[in-house]
Symmetry: C2
Subunit: 290 residues, 2 copies
Amino acid sequence: MINKNTKIGFIGTGVMGRGMIQNLLKGGYSVYIYNRTKEKALPLIEKGAILKNSIKELCKECGVVITMVGYPSDVEEVYLNEEGILNNIKPKSYVVDMTTSKPSLAKKIYSKAKENDIFSLDAPVSGGDIGAAEGTLSIMVGGDKEAFDALMPIFELMGKNIVLQGTAGSGQHTKMCNQIAIASNIMGVCEALSYAKKSGLDPKTVLKSIGAGGAASWQLSAYAPRILKGDYAPGFYIKHFVKDMKIALEEASEMGLTTPALELSKKLYDKLIADGQEDLGTQALYNLYK
Amino acid sequence: MINKNTKIGFIGTGVMGRGMIQNLLKGGYSVYIYNRTKEKALPLIEKGAILKNSIKELCKECGVVITMVGYPSDVEEVYLNEEGILNNIKPKSYVVDMTTSKPSLAKKIYSKAKENDIFSLDAPVSGGDIGAAEGTLSIMVGGDKEAFDALMPIFELMGKNIVLQGTAGSGQHTKMCNQIAIASNIMGVCEALSYAKKSGLDPKTVLKSIGAGGAASWQLSAYAPRILKGDYAPGFYIKHFVKDMKIALEEASEMGLTTPALELSKKLYDKLIADGQEDLGTQALYNLYK
């Protein structure tokens, strides 16, 4: 059972994990952390987190283990390796992968966890670094309702919009829907802004007009001002976005679904990666239009 | 000078014009109307509008003439013909084209108007039939500040977000930015929904998750529920959207700007037109993904 004394393990202390961990600490939980690059975890010790030297050690302490790592290959390693979570966590514990990862991998982890009497959810998020810091993430969950209900008090410290989407993998599928919509929206933002500049308009004044009507979007209001300042710092890394689009395209292809706008977006972002811009934020797509 | 006794002429009583005219009448103005297809104007007589049999007759009465017609060719005809506005309106009058039309044509009308001592603005809108009916349109204006200020009380009856974007043609250019953003967003909406369905998710539940985060957009919240109900009734006609995209692509091309997502969107909508779907609403793009 999960209560206020439950110790939470958190693996992955990057730009997202950092904000989420701080909100768990503020909520009064003991949080045990692990990160492959130890240096990135150190600032969280001052905030009250307890650093562990291995996943194995972390798992010994915790009744809930949350993961927020980079790629599906990282998820696979962290969960399924000999030294990974599922081989070292106590029975009746909860594991929650909040990384954006493959739906099929989420199902695999769920099945393996179930064999070991462990409850597993896939729970990717949307809302970026700001949402993570402010505890306003949208959390898309796949798995069993009992586990979802049990973890709700913990989810509520990190997010505002927490929805059970269906069985294992459904959180990941929903996140793909989210990324598919974004993949198109960000192209629209960049093309609209580049048109505005080229036609001699003042893009800031243009935003006053188009930010409120049928063209309004989160992508526009969050990123257009950053683009106009030349601020390409990552709220969301290009390399991670391309990873997500790759998963979405593979899944779509397996389902026999054609998504030409997603394909185009991936193609444009691949150009940026080929140009060494993978560590910029997704708004740097604008660089292709300059 | 414009005051409460100024008679307003309104040419074009389609789905947009109808709502706008009613709001001008509610504001206490005398409104003289003209429409090529007279039948479409008749219901407005009951609301207090005065029907004229020609543009020439309408122009004799009015100190302000507003146009909301279909295509740039209609705008050209209505303004520049022998029997059109600029050859028949009194000096010191105001003309306002609220049709989405070519920036170059707006400049041409402005110059011709100026020669005749007439004040001209281009002022296309965003917000659809609902915005027109409710007086909440976003109005994007190009032209001189004096004319913009003089017309503000009239604009305020029709819209909420009224912005002077620059010299003649700037309203049209801004509207192009708006349509460019929408052209991508609607593809994202359709691809996300089709992925949701194909992957076995409940699309309505998916909208609860993705409608609030980074994928949030006006297009998603307005059209996804209609798509899920199979409601393809036009808030905004495909044929008009394709007209707008065509103008934007021509302008972009003249400026040496490449807009691949806009090109793709136009290409997809062209397929719908080839399939006879031009009178459906823009959300019918989803038909390509079914």
